[in-house]
């Protein structure tokens, strides 16, 4: 799913197109976590997550996960015109590693093998034990947290959609979202808790909205147990003109939320106050 538009990727269709072209499908599944969808079961070959988000769940670590599903035939993928292999990095001798041919070493783990061995050896990209422990501990409660994230998100989306000062709510729960039907099919447990909405106001009103919130933390992270908010027009994208913002699909009043695990009534109360304050700031 795209951030923050929540455009749902039609994984089965895109996987088919990728495989017909002899390339693997790599899916960034950070915003879903495996609880909402398991991309490998829908045809993806590789998956990665920012473990900083839902997997660890508390915004306390920096880390990531790469998963090789073992389904892609790196050796068999050849250029139709020349017959030359497309992935020589894995299917030809690599002199940086004793002429190892990774696809021969492991029929289903070639990508993982090179990614891990070379990454560790050349770049020292080794996670600290404490970081790994925090991520593992987070994963232990992932299903409980995800269910709560989805429940809270549904209530917040319904609240926002009912507010006259809100121009648009971009969540696939709503029929107005372009991915509504696809989300129902691929994401029956929910379509994520990171989404955007537009208030009917200018940059200053957007800023006022953020400043009035008390429960939502003003942070660029997502997938945290605490609810987070950001106003792109006055923060991450403040240097862009109104026209450039519009071209990026962001209005002056676009707000991005990452819904956390708090009491949903408290979240709605916080949003209600901030919407009033922003409306008055016109």
């Amino acid at each position: 799913m795209g951030n923050p538009g929540l455009d749902v990727l039609d994984i089965p269709t895109v996987a088919q197109i990728a495989h017909e072209a002899g390339v693997p499908l790599l899916v960034d599944s950070t915003l879903t976590s495996p609880w909402l969808i398991k991309p490998l079961e829908h045809g993806a070959d590789l998956v990665y997550h920012s473990a900083t988000k839902f997997l660890s769940g508390h915004g306390t670590v920096i880390g990531g996960v790469v998963v090789d599903g073992g389904s892609f035939d790196w050796e068999g993928a050849k250029d139709a015109a020349t017959g030359v292999g497309k992935f020589a990095e894995l299917s030809a001798p690599y002199d940086g590693f004793h002429n190892m041919i990774f696809t021969e070493e492991s029929t289903v783990g070639a990508f993982l093998l090179r990614a891990r061995r070379e990454g560790l050896r050349d770049f020292g990209a080794c996670m600290s034990p404490h970081t790994a422990w925090l991520i593992l501990q987070g994963i232990e409660t992932l299903p409980l947290r995800m269910a709560r994230h989805m429940g809270n998100t549904e209530k917040v989306v319904q609240f926002l959609a009912s507010q006259p000062f809100v121009a648009r709510v971009g969540h696939p729960l709503l029929e107005s979202h372009p991915s509504h039907a696809l989300a129902r099919k691929l994401l029956p447990r929910g379509a994520g808790s990171v989404f955007s909405f537009d208030i009917k106001g200018n940059r200053e009103q957007g800023k006022k909205f953020i400043e009035t919130l008390k429960l939502f933390s003003h942070l660029a992270n997502v997938g945290d147990c605490r609810s987070l908010v950001i106003h792109p027009a006055s923060t991450t994208h403040f240097r862009m003109s109104d026209e450039a913002l519009a071209n990026a699909g962001i209005s002056q009043g676009t707000i991005r939320l990452s819904i956390g695990l708090e009491d949903p009534d408290d979240l709605i109360e916080d949003l209600k106050r901030a919407l009033k304050a922003a409306e008055k700031a016109a």
Binding site: G69, D73, P93, M100, E105, S106, T107, G109
Partner: protein, 272 residues
């Protein structure tokens, strides 16, 4: 390395080394729905420590063409033809599961051409239940998941091949699917199981070998229970063979669940 055996392309993993007639040779034979890559740690180590390694993909499996063997005897004939094609006069044989029966039968036929015999996760008779045979034919995905659980001793495996971070259940499922789809004409899953189930020459074969034999078993093996190898072990001892039995605290897939211990056992035995 690709060889032509019985007119078909045959792939052997060599650890990236070219054949050196001055070195001893070891042939490694995989089991049902596996390929050479199940020996990843052991084969690469041996190839870098004084051995010519031929970790073969059996005919009709993954990189090797040809007709997938219907019986253990056919597969043993293939091993003999492989040695001829590779120009190997004498070799050690290491086989896992179905591959252990193939190694045993080949050792009986090739006698002095075999220097050592290692039977990993073996049993005799290697009977396969009718339910599993049927599932391998009609519901291979279901059967694959069944044997994947039966073959491993624990849900929380210690760091194992390919190394820390590898989920051996997932990797094994992926390999099984890959091997199954590599043969478009024959269900090699069912054919391999049938060959195990029908093999009836084990006791005669063990009496005919002329080399030392290592039984490398798994105490928690649910595919080939350690007690199911005892008859073969007794027969080997009765017929005066040099027999070593080693039982690792592991399931059926010793090479991936306890790669180091399996390597050390094979290395030490081959060094005798």
């Amino acid at each position: 390395m690709n060889l032509t055996v019985n007119g078909a392309t045959t792939y052997c993993y060599t650890g990236g080394k070219t054949y050196d007639p001055a070195k001893p040779t070891v042939v490694m034979i995989h089991g049902v729905l596996n390929d050479h890559s199940v020996w990843i740690l052991q084969s690469r180590y041996l190839a870098n420590h004084g051995w010519n390694v031929l970790a073969v993909d059996l005919p009709g499996h993954c990189r090797s063409g040809g007709e997938a063997p219907q019986t253990v005897e056919q597969a043993a004939d293939f091993i003999a033809a492989l040695l001829d094609a590779a120009g190997v006069a004498r070799t050690a044989l290491v086989g896992h599961s179905w591959g252990s029966l193939i190694a045993l039968e080949a050792a009986a036929r090739l006698k002095d051409r075999i220097s050592h015999l290692v039977l990993v996760g073996t049993a005799y008779p290697m009977k396969v239940s009718q339910a599993l045979l049927d599932a391998s034919l009609n519901e291979p995905e279901k059967a694959l998941k069944m044997i994947n659980v039966f073959s491993r001793s624990t849900l929380a495996a210690p760091p194992s091949a390919l190394g820390p971070g590898t989920w051996i259940y997932g990797a094994s499922l992926a390999l099984g699917r890959r091997v199954l789809t590599s043969n478009k004409t024959v269900n090699v899953f069912h054919r391999g199981f049938q060959a195990c189930d029908r093999y009836a020459n084990g006791e005669q074969a063990i009496a005919q070998i002329s080399c030392p034999v290592l039984f490398l078993l798994g105490s928690q093996d649910q595919m080939t229970l350690p007690k199911a190898a005892q008859g073969l072990i007794v027969k080997a001892r009765e017929s005066g063979k040099q027999v070593q039995v080693l039982t690792l605290p592991v399931g059926h897939h010793q090479m991936t669940e306890t790669p180091d211990e399996t390597l050390f056992a094979i290395r030490d035995f081959l060094g005798r």
